[in-house]
């Protein structure tokens, strides 16, 4: 009955690490589990791509080269061309493709059990940290930082391509009656225009929330559900639930790492491309 004595709290795995970082630095720049995961992600994403590309590209591609070409082709044709206009491709295609590869690697690394747990287990006298699944993208700070890059890129590009006056005017939907200061505008029309302006400005900020929350909660909820189903026996204190919990956990794990991990990276990159493209060419 060892299993039932484990004090299993799935939520703590995603919150407690903030309070005990590996290296404490001022200004909240601690090096904790999420930072280690981010470094790992960057190393894997850059390393794998460099390894395959620098080994020499061939006219008759082998397996790994084909895989990289498929990813590149998808970034170019599905993600970037779907949202970005031709003149924005040179600058923003690399950004969007980087977003896709980085977030995808981040999500996939999150599904490999790695020894970064808070609690330690004795294995033949060695104190080994628990193996657990944790994704850097299951952390609002990470996704919010990525979202803010897109947010500022969107508005800086919009102002750079259109000029500030034309750009902010383009937030108002076209075809509305324009307010003239001394014209025969009724107050009702002016109030409506003001309301639409408020909604449009709000919708620009809601984009930050929706873009960052989507990735964050998808990964957090995915990991939590896997952890809860695999640890259901420990949570409920009975072994009879094991035949349901373990298969459900494995099924959800497979769904998450084959579909959701790539899909969320795809969505994040696609929406970034659409937002930036929409700012460059507001009329479309």
């Amino acid at each position: 009955m060892i299993l039932l004595k484990v004090d299993f709290n799935p939520v703590a795995e995603f919150t407690d690490f903030v309070h005990n970082p590996y290296v404490s630095l001022p200004l909240g720049l601690d090096i904790n589990k999420a930072v280690i995961y981010l470094w790992l992600t960057a190393a894997v994403a850059i390393g794998v791509t460099l390894l395959i590309v620098r080994r020499g590209l061939k006219l008759r591609p082998d397996g790994s080269q084909t895989a990289v070409e498929v990813v590149y082709d998808m970034c170019q044709n599905q993600i970037a061309r779907g949202g970005l206009p031709e003149e924005g491709m040179r600058i923003w295609f690399p950004y969007v493709a980087t977003l896709f590869v980085f977030i995808w690697s981040m999500n996939l690394i999150g599904f490999i059990p790695l020894p970064f747990g808070e609690r330690h287990v004795d294995v033949f006298g060695l104190s080994v940290p628990e193996f657990q699944i944790y994704a850097a993208s299951a952390n609002l700070s990470v996704t919010l930082a990525l979202t803010l890059v897109t947010f500022f890129a969107t508005h800086i590009e919009g102002i750079r391509y259109n000029g500030p006056v034309k750009y902010f005017k383009s937030w108002m939907p076209s075809g509305l009656p324009s307010p003239r200061p001394f014209g025969a505008k009724t107050p009702a029309v002016l109030i409506l225009l003001g309301l639409i302006a408020v909604i449009e400005v709000l919708s620009q900020f809601v984009r930050i929330v929706s873009l960052s929350f989507r990735l964050f909660f998808n990964m957090l909820a995915g990991h939590l559900v896997i952890a809860v189903f695999l640890g259901l026996a420990s949570l409920l204190g009975t072994y009879f639930i094991l035949p349901i919990g373990i298969p459900m956990g494995v099924a959800l794990y497979l769904l998450e790492c084959t579909l959701i991990a790539g899909l969320q990276a795809f969505i994040f990159a696609t929406l970034s491309a659409i937002y930036i493209g929409g700012a460059i060419h507001p009329d479309h």
Binding site: Q78, S210, F213, R214, F217, N218, A221, L263
Partner: protein, 81 residues
């Protein structure tokens, strides 16, 4: 009848479950619509399958995100209650 036991924690747990469950109803219907309509459209015009699939995943993710608003607010309420 007076309530006994840890009513505070029990109501927090109920809140988390209710908010997430009720919040999942609408997006669940919406996701079903998106996949169903895509299947219909592919059945009508199979040559557009590639384009429709891209739109389908975009719509799926946008709809699914609504669950996470409910879940997020449920967690916030759970944490501050």
């Amino acid at each position: 009848m007076a309530l006994e036991g840890n009513v505070h924690d029990a109501s927090r747990a109920l809140e988390l479950g209710l908010a997430t469950g009720l919040g999942a109803i609408g997006p669940g219907i919406g996701v079903g619509f998106i996949f169903g309509k895509t299947i219909e459209a592919v059945g009508r015009q199979p040559e557009l399958r590639g384009q429709l699939q891209g739109l389908m995943w975009l719509g799926f993710a946008l709809t699914e995100a609504i669950i996470f608003y409910a879940l997020g607010m449920a967690f916030v309420a759970y944490a501050i209650a």
